[in-house]
């Protein structure tokens, strides 16, 4: 909305283009539409998760359980499919979403009703959700041959030239954009994170808004759970282990303030794409995976330095003469 916030996203956009440019100098084919759309497709799950995480971070909370939620819901959908191959896939996606939302409810209720710090709650559920996967699967894998062909085909099948996986990301982006900019509930997320006290005074239920954010991030993690398992055609206890950190990193690179109240959909998407490009491009130009991690890490720190600088308030200027300079 404001030129300032827009410009931050634009700068990140330029950085992303520059990154692609640098890579394509050594490997021209990288900048082709086909290759870039495959990077987008590859980053889709990260984008979906980053959008959910953003909603939570906007309210001054954090959801570290997203990747565990994804893995648990992924396991459930895979097992459900193995037991009942006839279950229609769209229904399975809806089930995944509801399951994820229920897990998000657990986080949300603990934060809302018991007033436990979100980082503690989600650290706990992160472990609990993983533990439940082990319990329900007995530590067994659900392998490709146990999944129905339609289960595995959905993310790969193409619609209007884009893989359905990418479409999931596109729809999530559009949905989040409308939610955050055009609905009172979306604006409440900003209000709650920007100034919780003031939010109370304006009649916003802070706890409930945070709860909603957790449910939303849970639902998106649930959908991502189905997408992950069907795409890689395998489900086991450790899928996406540690992925929550990539999700938080994408948000941070995207300029979403960990202190809450600041962030845009464009930022979250660009932040996720930035990480996606690094992950996809560096192997192409023959940089070792160890450097990859160092480079993603540096990107996070640079982004934080940049954001901290631009968020710093301008000092009051008292002397008149100095104002004119």
């Amino acid at each position: 909305m404001s030129s300032f916030r827009l410009s931050r996203d634009v700068i990140l956009g330029f950085a992303l283009v520059a990154l692609v440019g640098v890579v394509s100098m050594r490997f021209p084919a990288f900048a082709s539409v086909k290759s870039l759309s495959s990077v987008f497709n590859d980053t889709s799950i990260l984008i979906i998760l980053a959008l959910g995480q953003m909603a939570v971070i906007l309210t001054r909370c954090i959801d570290l359980s997203m990747a565990s939620n994804l893995a648990l819901v992924g396991m459930c959908t895979a097992m459900l499919n193995a037991i009942m191959p006839a279950l229609p896939i769209p229904l399975l996606v809806i089930i995944a979403m509801i399951l994820g939302a229920l897990l998000g409810c657990v986080n949300g209720l603990l934060v809302w009703k018991l007033d436990i710090p979100p980082i503690v709650v989600t650290l706990g559920t992160l472990t609990i959700f993983r533990g439940i996967i082990f319990l329900i699967s007995d530590g067994q894998w659900v392998n490709a041959h146990e999944m129905s062909p339609t289960f595995k085909a959905l993310p790969r099948s193409s619609f209007l030239g884009l893989p359905v996986l990418s479409w999931f990301a596109v729809v999530s982006i559009a949905g989040m954009f409308v939610l955050l900019t055009r609905t009172p509930q979306g604006r409440a997320l900003y209000a709650v994170g920007g100034h919780p006290n003031a939010a109370v005074y304006t009649g916003i239920n802070v706890g409930r808004t945070r709860f909603n954010a957790f449910v939303l991030s849970g639902a998106l993690a649930g959908i991502a759970g189905y997408l992950w398992v069907s795409r890689y055609a395998v489900a086991y206890v450790d899928i996406a282990a540690g992925f929550e950190l990539d999700v938080v990193a994408a948000c941070v690179i995207g300029g979403i303030s960990i202190a809450g109240g600041i962030g845009t959909v464009a930022g979250a998407v660009l932040g996720a794409l930035f990480l996606g490009v690094i992950k996809n491009a560096l192997p192409v130009v023959d940089i070792s995976p160890f450097w990859q991690q160092a480079i993603s890490g540096s990107a996070i720190i640079i982004a934080v330095i940049f954001n901290a600088r631009s968020e710093r308030r301008a000092g009051r200027i008292i002397l008149k003469q100095a104002e004119q300079v």
């Binding site: 009172p184 916003i204 002397l319």
Partner: protein, 508 residues
């Protein structure tokens, strides 16, 4: 609607026998309050008298344990802030509680934004309506600017526009002028007059008697959670109200001058900063209390920050005890015997999560520790000595500072710096936001310190405090030193005129 001959009019909002109890404290005991359309009712009381609790009951943050609230003679239950807003009650707070990272229009309409037929927020209508509301109160603010880019006065305007937007019938203003400059306060008065003309019932909370007598029609005095008195402001006078407020006659509330001036200990020559202040010159003698008066934002605190080594001056010379010093950091300044007690207790002063003893011992670590280890006995001895001197009321020295009252927190902060045995102490708004009883204790103590030969710089925006305490006053305006008065010659009028730049001629 009859104009201010309000005795015949029935109140818009009426509170009857409101009781609110917190564990161990009766915050409000059977309080009643009536607000009338088109009238300003001033709510007066010391800190802790129950004013804030009252505001919270009215805005639905707290629920009263007993009592009745009626709007237009119909009983209402204000169970949530949203409910209070829907009932037409809105509040403008001291530090405007709005959202820095949302736009002006959104701040005005949050909670009741105009919607399109798809139930989505209608940004176009919202910006359009916001412009109309802002124009109505004579504010030239673009609705799409972010709130963080506005000054406090403009933020107040946004809050007022918000009050108009929800078509509030009752507007609560909780110390709205506390952070405003002279000119901004004048503009706020105009707004209050406009709200009155619009038929709003206004509850105005303030500690400043001059403004109460200027804009209020009625008053209600609270003391210790009870309504002591109410009536028409024209039938009363400030000293009568102060008496009711504190429950005793406040004759001379400032301690008499017992301090004698010694030799010069601090000299400041040509102190300047690129953007904050320019060419500040003064000297300070042992046993002297030097007042710094000016409007908020005149550059007083900024000047003190650079003396204390928080920021660097662009030019100027500082001499302490005949020795030329350029403090590079607060630690450096402390080492030279100069300490600064900041204005904002919460943010810069007391560390509320630590105990009294830890707070007091913090800057004196060098003397209380031995070979890198803290000596607890020495820390406690130090804390005991200074809390006794300051008559600090606390259950135990290891009580957390956050559990103390505002006045006692301020004492901890002062004690902490005194424990470093400074030669010069800078007190920035030493009694801001603390109740009258604690104020008097701080004043008495300041006088005692000066008598013992400590040189004190007191930055204050309260005219009575400056006149009652300072031996000499320097007045700053827009970053410049504009006048200086001895205490015999200073009058409230001369201070205000110099600080506001009403005339460039000063009596000095």
């Amino acid at each position: 609607m009859p104009m201010p001959q309000a005795s015949s009019q029935s109140p818009v909002l009426s509170l009857n026998g409101i009781v609110k109890t917190f564990p161990g404290v009766k915050a409000l005991s059977s309080v009643s309050l009536d607000l009338y359309a088109g009238e300003v009712t001033a709510l007066i009381g010391e800190n802790g008298a129950g004013k804030s609790t009252m505001v919270k009951v009215l805005t639905g943050i707290y629920q009263a344990d007993a009592g009745e609230i009626t709007i237009d003679d119909r009983p209402v239950k204000l169970t949530t802030p949203n409910h209070a807003a829907l009932s037409g009650i809105t509040a403008i707070h001291q530090e405007t509680v709005l959202f820095d990272d949302l736009t002006v229009a959104e701040n005005i309409f949050i909670g009741h934004a105009p919607r399109t037929k798809f139930k989505l927020i209608d940004w176009r209508k919202m910006n359009h309506d916001a412009t109309a509301l802002l124009e109505r109160i004579g504010a030239s603010i673009k609705p799409t600017t972010l709130l963080r880019d506005l000054g406090i006065a403009n933020k107040h305007l946004v809050a007022v526009a918000r009050a108009l937007s929800i078509d509030a019938r009752v507007v609560i203003m909780d110390e709205p002028t506390a952070a405003l400059s002279y000119k901004e306060i004048e503009e706020l008065y105009v707004l209050v007059a406009q709200l009155k003309a619009d038929g709003k019932a206004i509850l105005f909370i303030s500690h400043k008697f001059d403004e109460i007598f200027r804009i209020a029609d009625r008053y209600s005095v609270f003391r210790d959670g009870e309504l002591v008195d109410d009536g028409f402001i024209n039938d009363s006078n400030p000293s009568e109200l102060v008496e009711k407020m504190v429950g005793r006659s406040v004759g001379s509330i400032y301690p008499s001058r017992t301090n004698e001036l010694g030799d010069t200990i601090l000299r400041v020559e040509g102190y300047s900063h690129e953007t904050e202040f320019d060419d500040i010159n003064f000297s300070l003698r042992r046993g002297e209390i030097l007042g710094f008066y000016g409007l908020v934002g005149a550059g007083r605190s900024e000047c003190m920050h650079s003396l204390f080594g928080v920021t660097r001056p662009s030019a100027g010379k500082l001499t302490i005890n005949g020795e030329s010093v350029t403090p590079k950091s607060p630690a450096d300044a402390i080492a030279h015997g100069l300490v600064y007690v900041p204005e904002d207790r919460g943010h810069q002063g007391a560390i509320t999560g630590l105990s009294i003893v830890d707070n007091i011992a913090l800057p004196s670590m060098k003397t209380t520790s031995n070979k890198g280890f803290v000596r607890l006995a020495r820390e406690y001895a130090l804390a005991r000595e200074y809390t006794q001197r300051l008559e600090l009321k606390a259950a135990a020295l290891d009580q957390l500072v956050g559990e103390l009252s505002g006045g006692n927190q301020q004492k901890v902060v002062i004690a902490k710096w005194l424990a470093t045995k400074p030669a010069v102490i800078i007190l920035d708004e030493p009694t801001k936001g603390i109740d009258i009883g604690s104020k008097a204790a701080v004043h008495l103590f300041m006088r005692e310190l000066a008598s013992q030969g400590l040189a004190i710089i007191m930055v204050s925006s309260e005219i009575p405090e400056i006149i009652g305490m300072a031996d000499r006053v320097i007045i700053m305006r827009e970053g410049r030193q504009v006048a200086e008065f001895d205490h015999e010659l200073v009058t409230p009028e001369s201070l205000v005129r110099a600080a506001a730049g009403i005339d460039e001629v000063s009596a000095a």
